[in-house]
Subunit: 352 residues, 2 copies
Amino acid sequence: QTRFKVAVLAGDGIGPEVMAEAHKVLNAVEARFGLTFERTDALVGGAAIDAVGQPLPPQTLSICQQSDAILFGSVGGPKWTGLAPDQQPERGSLLPLRKTFDLFCNLRPGQIYPAFADLSPLHPRVSSQGMDVLCVRELTGGIYFGEKGRGENSAFDTQTYSTAEISRIARVAFEAAQKRSHKVTSIDKANVLQTSILWREVVTEVAKDFPDVALEHMYIDNAAMQLIRSPQQFDVLLCDNLFGDILSDELAAIAGSMGLLPSASLNGSGFGLYEPAGGSAPDIAGQGIANPIAQILSAALMLRYSFGLEEAAKAIEQAVQQCLQQGIVTRDIQPDSSYGTADVGSAIANAI
Amino acid sequence: QTRFKVAVLAGDGIGPEVMAEAHKVLNAVEARFGLTFERTDALVGGAAIDAVGQPLPPQTLSICQQSDAILFGSVGGPKWTGLAPDQQPERGSLLPLRKTFDLFCNLRPGQIYPAFADLSPLHPRVSSQGMDVLCVRELTGGIYFGEKGRGENSAFDTQTYSTAEISRIARVAFEAAQKRSHKVTSIDKANVLQTSILWREVVTEVAKDFPDVALEHMYIDNAAMQLIRSPQQFDVLLCDNLFGDILSDELAAIAGSMGLLPSASLNGSGFGLYEPAGGSAPDIAGQGIANPIAQILSAALMLRYSFGLEEAAKAIEQAVQQCLQQGIVTRDIQPDSSYGTADVGSAIANAI
Ligand SMILES: CC(C)[C@H](C(=O)O)[C@@H](O)C(=O)O
Ligand SMILES: CC(C)[C@H](C(=O)O)[C@@H](O)C(=O)O
């Protein structure tokens, strides 16, 4: 297969700017590998609220449905913070997309690159040891989607997990660990939560199918601590929806280079949503200084996971490494840099 | 009042060693201020499991009930990790104690002392700016104590919060902020959880009674990130039970000096449980090298919050500062130190 359909949801803030650079890179990949990425733009987030009154319009959903993957920019900004929680750009677009497409598996890598260790807010005695962690987060269950509501003077949320939900995400984590450093740290709060006790049981059971992967269980509070103290002890973090939300952001903060971190949200049949880990950064939007690398690496993940184009994905990743090595980076990476968003995007596209 | 009853639950690991030093310091306070702390030892945690088969024996509970406060050491260790979750030393003692005495309010300070900034795992460019955060955690509600259970191939936990539960802990946070830097950051996940939406509403309402305190709301995932990036932005963190569990440990990791951090768990009538933030540290137990300061500072908090002995509490805190300044510290604080647990305890007692 050489033809793929991509729904492009650029969104708000820096979304459209960094998406423009991902397009350049995808064009370069088309040319080099003889591929066609048929791209269709669709409204999402605040831009969609402004245009048609809702963060995820039916038309956008139907474009996604007709595509092989979603390339997502970022959504949200000060303009829409006054809206009711379920109508806000982030929540109102991401949660229904995850549920509609059963994107149960969220992958978020976090690295400290030795050459850029100083970007990390950790002490050099820690960051100099490097870090290479993959957070595997369950994304369609748990307290996010359980029964919830309001009483007269109270409110409640329910967290439920089934054996099937836990084992399918656990398998992803173990398979990922097999291609990495063969260690899974499963995060729970089994000293308090029944769902965590089940989580621990199911993960322990799944681990039996992966004798070459070491499994460790860790309480969420301890993990929040260990990630700061010695992040190099981790390889794959396996988390439920809520704990994964927290730890993947903590991981990104520790890496220190939000502008470099992509993410992938996948279902069981190869469909996925790919987005930078960082937000819409309204404070720097429109200035041409946003780092496009996380968006470009998200496109690389799309090629790998949804299109099976490993070689093309690697080509993008190598081009990114090359630019990093040559110092062609935006100022979030090198404060005195004079390169802008478009410079970095073009350099990466040219390197392909 | 000059006479106070203290239930002393030393527990496991380094618990008994550091508790011995707290006794020295309490003796010094008795002598200097003409007070009497009538102390009764009671079994708890692993030690209690070994002796009588349960982590919180009825006899211990009744000693606590007859006291004005509980001075708690630490519980747990490798010996008991195989037990069922609800019989383990930590969970099996702390959760019932919290519930029995309605200890709804947990206070956990986290500081980076300029003189010891290098203890922090954060980069000097961050840690040199210092940090002084108080985490105020709701401790008897939320997902810890909601309905929970197992289905055939599933499990569930319920998080509930009432207006009353939220407003009483919010008041504590605002009152604390009035004595500090007049800022409360309330942590929630209001873009996903109904309990968080209620939390935000109630906290906003309570804030109206504290016009001299600035209120800010922050999502838990963002807070986990911001705490690492720029901890100096925070004064008081107001958290529900689960988020407070995670953030207070993250805060302790950032401070880097677990051996210096006390905690207080209080109810509405002055009764409280006081314990070091660190664990039982079985790896160094019995070697006489554990840092007793967190236990000693926990005793100071007991004097302040449960006994209203502000002057005596300050005397302990000043004595601790003096020892820190003189370098009379264990090796977790200064790796080349030759002082042991007893040296530090005696020095603090002598300084009173
Ligand atoms: C916007 C929000 C609902 C979402 C989440 O909590 O999952 C976001 O924080 C994320 O991690 O993608
Ligand atoms: C032992 C455990 C139940 C407890 C908690 O989660 O509250 C502990 O982590 C704490 O923070 O005191």
